[in-house]
Amino acid sequence: MTTQHTGSEPGSAAGGTEEISGPALSGRARFWRRFRRQWPAQIALGYLIVIVAVAVCAPLLATYSPFDQNLNGVLARPSGEHWLGTDDLGRDVYSRLLYAARISLLAAAQAVAVSLVLGVLPGLLAGYAGKKTDAVIMRITDAVMSFPPLILAIAVVGVLGPSLTNAMFVIGIIFAPRFLRLVRGSVLSLRAETFIEASRSIGTPRWRIIQRHVLPNVLSPLVVQISLASALAMLAEASLSFLGLGVQPPEASWGAMIERGFRYTAAAPWMTVFPGLLIALTVLAFNVLGDGLRDSLGREVRKAS
């Protein structure tokens, strides 16, 4: 999907001035200098750190157990006692949100990890191994990309049985082509670079060239893509959980909490509004961070991602 690339324009705030003083600084120093100017991306990063911390410290921050039912206090409005109200079983929405953060974040991480495993190595292979291997890998990639992502995920989860692990595994497979194409593209353009040619001409073994020269150069665009893919994975998890095909009760992710709240839209809007807000903010943060990181990369790298 090329559509994600348009948010950042070449030569925006990040480029320009440092480029001149550039050679004196290392690539990493230049990156940090540019990133310091990307204040939206820094806010996004700060937010994500907070969310991860909240997920880790959920037991400390929760005011109730996320599973404790109180059938005398169902669908209670937000109040001093229950900050964000209670759900249809009288469970504290605030405490459930904290615990659901763990599941939502872990699910996204799992999908991205699967994508990386399935995308990076075949991507290196496709870019480096030769035309035949490349053709085979790219045809398979095309086939995977021909499926509407959510429909394929629904079908596979439907066949395997609904569970979060199944759901995120499929999502990981569906997003793998993004990483594969990125890595392959970077490798192809790197192969033509003089320094790689030079290295090859003095007889450096192929794996060593990949390890020493290719991988470090692919890393930066990969980090950008990881951030953007996390956003998509989180949305996909929310959709699948909303359809009842992701995490199973009594566990809940933010998407699953919306599904529960959906049945009480009129009586208890807080059951729906808050988890959705958290999904939207977190996805936004991943997107903004990804865009900011891309704008902080050198122009050459920016092209590849």
Partner: protein
């Protein structure tokens, strides 16, 4: 152009074979014995055997695949396991509903995206651009079903302007059909709208920096004519491509949106099939939606080749 078209069409054949094979292989992924899984745990030995034969599981996998794919080519995707309908029949029943929803969503998306994209491109870097960029970022970050529920809360429950759920067939009442479709179309269209706006903003502001635009302006053409006639024409090409990419997203998104608004489309059928483990139905829906995506991408590629001679040569 004809060579390009033929080559592009030839490329799709191995793709279709791989995709259909992948879809059929779904049956291999059923944990344990599919016949037992489908017949239910309390089924008798005869029932399991009957299910096995009904699914054609007694043949080898490749024979099964061959039977299925040769039927599929003739439009026969098999029989639903749980209803008397054929898979093709059920899909054809539901397809018009999903088509109406997605078409309405694309219309909503374009109606908002085109003016927004133009405004952003013309005021690049200034506040209208920043506002549009912010809104599109929010647009792609919201889960569509959540947005749908919020719209229902505000525009159907708090102030009952639109119905919260339901669908009226077009043949019954045109007005009722449109009335029912407004909220779902907005819900599904807004995410697509954000993508198109981003793309249009980018491509249009690139085009507006071209020399020929400056020439047109220098020649004294009015601003509006320059933007619409000279700018949009060239900026539209990448937008069409993005629209093509969005088809898969629309088909997936409609599953969720149909669930929110209780619309009896393909998505509703898919969810039902998945919950009942109606394997032939699942396979049929997946293969049909993949075929739609491939077909749209083919059309986009061909139109791209037609519009841009450079593409034909590569």
């Amino acid at each position: 152009m004809i060579t390009y078209a033929l080559r592009r069409i030839a490329m799709i054949i191995p793709l279709i074979i791989m995709v259909s094979f992948g879809v059929y292989a779904l049956v291999l992924m059923i944990p344990g014995d599919p016949a037992i899984t489908i017949a239910g745990e309390n089924a008798t030995e005869e029932q399991i055997q009957a299910t096995r034969e009904r699914l054609g599981l007694t043949d080898s996998f490749f024979v099964q695949y061959w039977n299925w794919i040769s039927g599929a080519v003739r439009g026969d995707l098999g029989q639903s396991l749980f209803s008397s309908q054929t898979v093709t029949g059920a899909i054809l029943d539901r397809f018009p509903v999903t088509l109406a929803l997605t078409a309405a969503a694309v219309t909503v998306a374009l109606l908002i995206a085109v003016p927004a994209g133009i405004i952003a491109a013309l005021h690049r870097g200034r506040w209208p651009d920043r506002a549009v960029t912010l809104l599109t970022s929010i647009g792609i970050s919201m889960p569509s079903f959540w947005l749908g529920i919020l719209l229902v809360m505000v525009l159907a429950l708090a102030t009952p302007i639109f119905p919260a759920v339901g669908y009226t067939p077009l043949s019954e009442s045109v007005l009722g059909w449109a009335h029912n479709l407004v909220l779902p179309a907005f819900t599904l269209g807004l995410a697509v709208c954000a993508e198109i706006t981003r793309q249009l903003r980018g491509s249009l502001s690139d085009v507006l920096h071209q020399d020929y635009i400056r020439t047109a302006r220098a020649a004294g053409l009015r601003g509006r004519i320059v933007v619409v006639k000279h700018g949009m024409k060239n900026a539209a090409v990448p937008v069409v491509t993005v629209l093509g990419f969005q088809v898969g997203f629309l088909l997936g998104g409609s599953v969720v949106v149909e669930r929110v608004f209780g619309i009896p489309g393909l998505g509703d059928l898919a969810i039902r099939a998945v919950l009942e483990r109606d394997i032939p139905m699942i396979q049929g829906i997946v293969v049909v939606s993949a075929a739609i995506v491939m077909l749209v991408n083919l059309v986009v590629d061909l139109s791209y080749g037609y519009l841009n001679p450079k593409v034909r040569q590569s």
